[in-house]
């Protein structure tokens, strides 16, 4: 590679779904101006609450931390349009419950954390991380990162289905 090659631009892989700051990553969700319910991604046309006839939700930053509702991993390379690393590195996926918004949001877990290190109820924070890159850009996405890494995995979690 030429030493004069410009560094790649860091761009979000999807527009308007999250704030791709390294220091203060946040999901951009919606909050209904009428009933106050939340949505992710933001409900752009109408409130999802059937008892509410308000219009588009206002954009809000969702809570940056939450607890694992459930988790899994991708042991095999997902098909396109996923852009997989070569060689493929398995990754964990977490569904994280945000307490204030009372919604559960999916995200990949940061590289280096395996599913065996997670547990239901595990506290997670949102970060910005690389999804994939091409010749000109690094494409960013939100990912979940454990706030701590316990050696034992307590059982349980709040039962709510």
């Amino acid at each position: 590679m030429s030493p004069h090659a410009p560094s790649k631009a860091r761009v979000p892989a999807v527009e308007g779904w999250f704030v791709p700051d390294d220091a203060s990553a946040a999901l951009l969700g919606g909050r209904c101006r009428g009933c106050g319910t939340y949505s992710f991604p933001r409900a752009p046309l109408a409130c999802p609450n059937p008892a509410c006839r308000s219009g588009p939700a206002e954009e809000v930053r969702l809570s940056r931390t939450g607890r694992v509702w459930s988790y899994t991993d991708a042991a095999y390379k997902p098909p396109p349009p996923y852009v997989a690393s070569d060689p493929f590195e398995p990754f964990a996926i977490a569904a994280v419950e945000l307490e204030e918004e009372k919604l559960v949001v999916l995200g990949q877990v940061v590289p280096g954390v395996s599913a065996s290190e997670l547990y239901v109820g595990c506290e997670m924070e949102l970060v910005t991380a690389t999804l994939y890159e091409d010749q000109t850009n690094v494409y960013l996405v939100w990912k979940w990162k454990p706030l701590d890494r316990p050696t034992s995995t307590p059982s349980g979690g709040r039962a709510r289905r």
């Binding site: 892989a13 999807v14 209904c32 101006r33 009428g34 009933c35 106050g36 319910t37 939340y38 949505s39 992710f40 991604p41 409130c47 999802p48 609450n49 059937p50 008892a51 509410c52 006839r53 308000s54 509702w69 459930s70 988790y71 899994t72 991993d73 991708a74 042991a75 095999y76 997902p78 098909p79 396109p80 349009p81 996923y82 852009v83 997989a84 990754f91 964990a92 996926i93 569904a95 204030e100 918004e101 009372k102 919604l103 559960v104 949001v105 999916l106 995200g107 990949q108 599913a115 547990y119 239901v120 109820g121 999804l131 996405v141 059982s155 349980g156 979690g157 039962a159 709510r160 289905r161």
Partner: protein, 429 residues
């Protein structure tokens, strides 16, 4: 609408499931002819063809009803083609049933068939950044097994389920499917086989997850009056064990808020504001229940799958205690356990115990997936919900050789299509 709301199932037909690599039209035609023969009805007597669409086989798949009608030879029959993801088969049954009950037609043919790609289901091609099904693959690498695994892990954390329990579901279904000539996988596997297969999405192993298959299934449905006249005209001159009829077809959508993460979504609905909360734009009275204003709307209980089943029971005028067998969508082994609870066969968190006691095995209190289920078939999307009904009807007739549920009188199917499609059919004799 007990009794008066019924339609008769005159005929059932299937093309064996497999990875045949031929046109879905061929499978559908085969199944349709088998169902017509089974019913003793000629194609030209069919007044409506109701097709369940496939979205991976080009234009003919999007207009499946017409595709099958043309393959059988244009007869002037009415046509309907519907898509509802994994629930497409039930949606096609619902369309036919509605037109029969409305008195528009007497005899309808319902057909679904698919030719499936290999491996994980990927979204339909193209660069579609406004399609959540495309985006969940692109942004998360979230395949269908990702979601099944989230539910499975949740059962382990909340109810103490184990990988062995999940494997035991697969083992049970393999014993059932071994006796089904239409099943794709007919080898009996045991718990150790499942646990020895590679982990695809922790905690699910390869053998916990259903494959994708080619296959076709069809039903001949008729009004009860037509069925009685038709039965009297047959050489046997009678109805034998009675006419098998469909008493309910539940095709409901979820109630807000749906607090379980569903394919292909990135998040659940928010439970921060329940439907009972006061809304600023409240010109719409009544809410989702449609006129039941005597009590405030509350958070829906039990999740979408329970709502799907509840609607079927209510329409049929029965409860879980009346059911003799169930065919449920075991996209994963663990998901079958979720369905036990959604169908009310047991309480929340009791599915593992029900399984361990053998209640859902052939010979048990309420056999589940006597056909072998998706784990023995693999999923042929638009055919699958129809195939579930084929199995229930065969069981109610007493014709399921090698896997018969003794004395079965009532059966229920249950299934769910992504983007919020419920599917549950109650059949009885």
């Amino acid at each position: 609408m007990t009794g008066s709301g019924r339609v008769a199932v005159l005929g059932i037909g299937m093309h064996p499931w497999g990875k045949w690599g031929r046109s879905f039209v061929e499978y559908g035609l085969h199944a349709a002819n088998a169902a017509l023969d089974d019913a003793g009805i000629s194609w030209e007597d069919v007044q409506l063809v109701s097709g369940a669409d496939t979205i991976r086989n080009g234009y003919p798949g999007f207009v499946a009803g017409a595709t099958f009608a043309q393959a059988l030879g244009w007869s002037g029959a009415r046509v309907s083609s519907v898509y509802a993801a994994c629930a497409s088969g039930a949606a096609a049954i619902a369309s036919a049933r509605a037109q029969i009950l409305a008195g528009m037609v007497d005899v309808a043919l319902v057909v679904g068939a698919d030719t499936a790609p290999k491996g994980f289901f990927a979204p339909v091609g193209g660069d579609r950044r406004d399609d959540p099904d495309w985006l969940r693959f692109h942004l998360l690498g979230a395949t269908n097994p990702t979601y099944f695994a989230l539910y499975a892990r949740r059962r382990m954390a909340i109810y103490g389920a184990t990988s062995k329990d999940f494997a035991a579901v697969k083992a049970k279904n393999s014993r059932h499917g071994a006796a089904n000539p239409n099943a794709r996988y007919r080898d009996v596997v045991d718990v150790d086989d499942v646990l020895a297969s590679p982990v695809v999405a922790d905690p699910l192993h390869l053998l916990d997850i259903c494959a994708t298959s080619d296959g076709g299934a069809a039903l001949v449905l008729a009004s009860m009056d037509f069925a009685r006249r038709h039965a009297a005209s047959l050489p046997s001159g009678g109805t034998g064990k009675g006419i098998v009829s469909i008493a309910a077809v539940s095709t409901v959508t979820p109630r807000y808020p749906n607090t379980v993460i569903e394919m292909p979504n990135f998040a659940t609905d928010s439970a921060a504001c329940l439907p009972s909360s006061s809304a600023s734009g409240n010109e719409q009275a009544g809410g989702p229940a449609g006129g039941e204003t005597d009590e405030p709307a509350a958070a829906p209980t039990g999740g979408f799958r329970s709502q799907v089943a509840a609607a079927a029971y209510e329409e049929a005028g029965i409860g879980p205690e009346d059911v003799d067998l169930a065919e449920v969508y075991d996209l994963s082994s663990a998901l079958e356990l979720d369905w036990y609870e959604a169908l009310g066969i047991c309480g929340e968190g009791e599915a593992e115990e029900l399984l361990r006691r053998g209640c859902t095995e052939l010979g048990g209190r309420l056999p589940v997936n006597p056909s072998g289920g998706l784990s023995s078939f693999g999923e042929a999307i638009p055919a699958q919900a129809i195939a579930q009904v084929c199995e229930v009807v065969l069981q109610l007739r007493g014709g399921a050789a090698g896997r018969q549920v003794a004395g079965a009188r009532v059966g229920i199917t249950a299934n769910q299509g992504l983007f919020g499609h419920g599917s549950s059919v109650v059949a009885m004799r």
